[in-house]
């Protein structure tokens, strides 16, 4: 049944990659796990697991201000992780990398710090119809607080942003553009370079939600020229609870703190507190040190393989999977943008996605079903929910064959 993956010399050695992910050996309902939900979270390579274990078993201490060896080591490891992330996205300065909990917190930070400082009544924030709730709700909260207005650029039936409509909405009142790089429920890759160019010509800063993009393609924040770039560790083969906000230094410098507490201050008296330098100003309290260190290892792991190989492999899987599931009777793919990655979202005629999800799970196939935190997209395509398979570097064509087999079982259970 299984068709070997492409075997050019430069191709990703997926069998070897799979050896690095211990969870892929487990059984689900007695069947080998076929994990096709990496868009929700990726599995972790052994090197990341080892880093976490080693950190807690051998290197755990709180960072900064400790004068003892363990604290110095933990501080060095935390700082080294920041450096790795800086190189990973090619940020100009180390202080432009702020550790957060996840993309959601990164976006909330920008909304509450940059937003409350720079966005006022009747000002506009421009997003797109394909945003994750995490790039909608923080702006709605800001709009409630400031009486600003949220504007939404429409998409077409393929799930592509309508650029001319987007440009029309980019007006004199627009104070910020916030756009997803790669849509989690459609797979659409947005022309972010072009979007940033259009916005910058009008002097409008741009935040890119890179949650999905960061583990599928190389991100160069200087080449993109974005002002903010948010992403999360747990989709990047790293731990949960650690995320990143890249911010242009001049902007971060001018922004007020997001949260107050320890580590983000220079001096505190009851009369007046002065704040620490970047990035500490935005990292109040004890951070997720182990998470950051684990993320550093995840970045090393990805860099060691290289996005060229990863992207080529995932492109092959997406094309193969798209063709294969299209053979299932009554299946409609949601999200058919010309430029897309990783995501295979679909609905099956006459079957609710949750029934699809339960039945394929019985065959060991893990896919996500529901609205994927993008309810406006569900409304746009007139479906209550979709089923979504998403691929990452460790997936194979054979696993997509298993998905198709399990979908045929769904079809047998629910005949058209």
């Amino acid at each position: 049944m299984s068709i070997p993956t492409q075997a050019s010399p430069a191709a990703l050695d997926v069998d070897r990659i799979r050896q690095d992910f211990p969870i892929l050996k487990r059984l689900v309902h007695g069947e080998p796990l076929v994990y096709l939900d990496s868009a929700a979270t990726t599995q972790k390579p052994q090197s990341v697991l080892d880093t976490l274990s080693r950190y807690y078993s051998n290197g755990n201490a709180n960072i900064h201000r400790g004068v003892y060896l363990l604290s110095e080591e933990a501080t060095a490891a935390y700082d080294a992780a920041r450096k790795k992330v800086q190189h990973f996205i090619n940020a100009r300065a180390l202080c432009e990398i702020v550790f957060t909990r996840n993309s959601t917190e990164s976006i909330n930070l920008v909304a509450q710090s940059f937003g409350r400082q720079n966005i006022g009544p009747a000002d506009e924030i421009l997003i797109t119809h394909m945003e994750h709730h995490s790039n909608i709700v923080p702006w709605q909260l800001l709009c409630e607080q400031t009486n600003a207005r949220l504007c939404v650029a429409p998409i077409d039936d393929n799930g592509e942003l309508l650029m001319d409509e987007f440009e029309k909405l980019l007006g004199p009142k627009t104070k910020l553009v916030a756009v997803v790089h790669l849509s989690n429920s459609l797979g659409t890759i947005n022309p972010v370079r072009e979007i940033i160019g259009l916005a910058h010509r009008r002097g409008v800063p741009v935040l890119i939600d890179g949650s999905q993009a960061a583990y599928h393609m190389p991100v160069d924040v200087q080449a993109l020229d974005c002002d903010f770039y948010a992403f999360t560790g747990h989709k990047l083969y790293g731990p949960t609870g650690i995320g990143v906000l890249y911010g242009r230094e001049t902007l971060l410098e001018a922004m007020p703190p997001y949260q107050g507490g320890g580590d983000m201050i220079r001096s505190v008296t009851f009369e007046k507190t002065t704040y620490a330098e970047l990035p500490a100003k935005f990292e109040a309290g004890t951070p997720h040190i182990a998470g950051a260190v684990g993320l550093g290892t995840a970045v090393d792991y990805i860099t060691g393989i290289g996005f060229e190989k990863i992207a080529a492999h995932e492109k092959d899987l997406l094309e193969y999977g798209t063709a294969a599931i299209s053979e299932v009777p009554g299946l409609r793919i949601i999200g058919t943008a010309r430029n897309k990655a990783s995501i295979l979202a679909f609905v099956l005629k006459g079957v609710h996605p949750h029934d699809v999800g339960t039945i394929v799970d019985m065959e060991g196939v893990s896919i996500r079903t529901g609205h994927h935190c993008t309810q406006p997209i569900m409304d746009r395509f007139g479906v209550p929910a979709t089923a979504r398979a998403s691929v990452a570097m460790y997936n194979t064509r054979a696993e997509l064959d298993a998905l198709v087999r399990s979908l045929r079982l769904v079809r047998e259970t629910f005949p058209i």
Binding site: H354, M362, G370, P384
Partner: protein, 153 residues
């Protein structure tokens, strides 16, 4: 395969495809809306009472096969029952789908027993019980909007 057939029994598939009492009751005595925000299932339950007897009951809504079949089977099961009998049936049904050790009282539950397989899929229990929670809200006449994610549930 056996797991699949145990969950998606013919009766469930039939009620999903041809839901019974799938209509609105114009000017119903009682009515409530239910929502499962985790999966987006929505349904409305309508009840006409004759004293404390459920004289007519119906539902409308969209959802997965489990939630639709459960709502359909429920309307068949409670029609003609007193409110107290319906409440008792709900208790027994809830025990069946949540308690792995519970013996299924086929005499009391009748056709509802086909949903026993749901107990092996904890995430789907809410699909099966949404209609019942909504019916209870309608019968209590609280006019509450029922959600499976409310604190009390």
């Amino acid at each position: 395969m056996s797991d699949l057939r145990e969950l998606y029994q013919e009766v469930i598939l039939d009620h999903n495809k041809h839901p019974r009492n799938f209509r609105e009751i114009d000017g119903a005595d009682r009515h409530a809306d239910g929502h499962n925000p985790l999966c987006g299932d929505r349904l409305a339950v309508y009840v006409n009472l004759d004293g404390d007897v459920i004289a007519d009951v119906s539902f409308l809504g969209s959802g997965c096969a489990i939630s639709k079949a459960s709502a359909s089977l429920m309307t068949d099961a409670v029609c003609g029952k007193t409110l107290a009998e319906a409440q008792q049936l709900f208790r027994e049904f809830h025990r069946m789908v949540t308690d792995n050790d519970a013996s299924v009282d086929n005499g009391l539950l009748g056709k509802l027993a086909v949903l026993a397989g749901v107990r092996n899929y904890p995430i789907r229990v809410k699909c099966a019980s949404l209609a019942w929670h909504t019916l209870r809200a309608a019968c209590d006449d609280t006019h509450q909007f029922v959600t499976t994610e409310s604190r009390s549930s």
